[in-house]
Point group: C3
Chain length 211, copies 3
């Protein structure tokens, strides 16, 4: 709507593909079978958007109405199933695309929430939920505590909030355009990549774990 639709869809598919790769690779690491690979790829790629669409009442969700959205994770599953030893060597490559997915999804999520008349603060929350929801579901299904919760992982929710928060500010100030939206996505991507490079972590409350 605000971004050029073709550009938006290409970015969406890149994000979906990257998230699906991360889900499929986790399934291989957990020694799940091919069904597990496909399920984790689909859930990771589509879970966040599915949650957003249910909340804003956009049913049936895009995840089920746009064929390319749920066939793309199948392609990622095939890639991982046959070539995963090479993919682990290019884990940095996957993290890079995952960062792009994060940026695209947090901006696309908050834009869609705003377009459905949600309050800007709710749009910030939904944009972030779109970006981080799929990964959280992936980790839960695989039997792990979601990476975004614990402190050994570089910040992930914060860049998503930066991107979706900037979209809300742009909307409130009437400066939301395709270019500023793209810059918001870019900012989220850059913050995430810097967090990975410099090992930025979120602070802990003092003295936890002793309760």
């Amino acid at each position: 709507m605000i971004l050029n639709p073709l550009v938006q869809q290409v970015l969406d598919l890149i994000g979906i593909f990257a998230f699906a790769l991360s889900g499929a690779l986790l399934a291989v690491r957990k020694r799940f079978d091919v069904v597990g690979i496909v399920v984790l790829a689909e859930v990771t790629a589509l879970g966040g958007g599915l949650f957003r669409d249910l909340v804003i009442g956009a049913v049936p969700p895009e995840a089920f109405t746009t064929t390319s959205y749920f066939t793309t994770p199948l392609v990622a599953s095939v890639v991982v199933f046959f070539w995963h030893p090479r993919l682990t060597r290019i884990r940095r490559f996957v993290l890079f695309f995952d960062a792009i997915g994060l940026g695209v999804f947090c901006v696309a999520g908050s834009l869609k929430a705003l377009n459905h008349g949600m309050h800007p603060l709710a749009a910030v929350a939904l944009g972030a939920a779109t970006a981080i929801g799929g990964g959280a579901a992936r980790d839960l299904l695989a039997g792990d505590v979601p990476a975004l919760l614990h402190p050994e992982s570089e910040i992930y929710a914060v860049p998503a909030l930066v991107g979706s928060g900037l979209v809300a500010v742009l909307a409130v100030t009437g400066t939301l355009t395709p270019i500023t939206s793209a810059l918001a996505a870019l900012l989220a991507v850059v913050v995430r990549l810097l967090a990975l490079h410099y090992g930025w972590r979120a602070p802990l409350a003092r003295g936890g774990g002793s309760l």
Copy 2:
């Protein structure tokens, strides 16, 4: 709609009862209390259909509007609470009914999705999600990785996809009738029972677990 409504409801209730038994039995095995038994029975029996109904926008979901749908798991809970030592000896019996539930649910799920105007490919996915969603939620709540993901369990999602996939093919080719729908459900049941009998498992990607 396509099946005789009475036949469909009887089959639905058999599926709900079988799924509820599997949830209640897992709760007993995990030493959960009676609340845990009822919650797992309800979630296993109704979770998949609830997800499907939320996705296609059929709210409030059948799980809450059809009284027999959410009282049936209570009956299964009572049965398990008082007679579970006998039920474990008839675990094969439960697996047999669970297979019937799987067949009924994957076909009913994809039929309902098609009736709500979903794309045939989306109907395949939703049919399978209806059949496997409750069991996945059951395993998550009980603290286990969902059985359908890991390779020690006989194939479960595949028979569901066979059933819902056949329904989609029948719909696209204009050959969807009560009889062909019933045959699709029967095929899913037979594939699942054969998988149990012969120990069919889904393949793993080579070299997993070393990443």
Copy 3:
């Protein structure tokens, strides 16, 4: 609607704040970072109501449309982040407010379900789900089996069912007023506090764990 709206909102916010405290404190105990604290606070406080609203078709859910509903858990997160060593000493205080949240939420949930035309039995289930859903999601995300399932915890779902069940009985008998609704909430609170004081637990099926 049935309660005085201002009274209801004050009670809702007390319940949200208490549930958020319990989520944030669990995050600290698990050594999650500040993102984990906020996520668990939000999920615990808003998860049950979100589920209820999705099921009855009240979208977008109140959790996203009422600003105070999703800013209150942020306040609770700040409180826990800076003062949690004191909060653990007042764990009894948190359990007390959590009991008030339980009472308010089970009654508010069943009232809202009735107002949306749900069957009384479904309203009982949805009222209980509103009260217990957030805590179940909190425990799952934190990597624990939900406390309400296992038998070492004092009964939690039962007081919720008492409160939402009483609302349904009042509605069916035409005696639902602000005062009787408040009494139903109070009854649920009292049952929960008595359960905590006397260590009431739900019964187990005999011989579980041996299957």
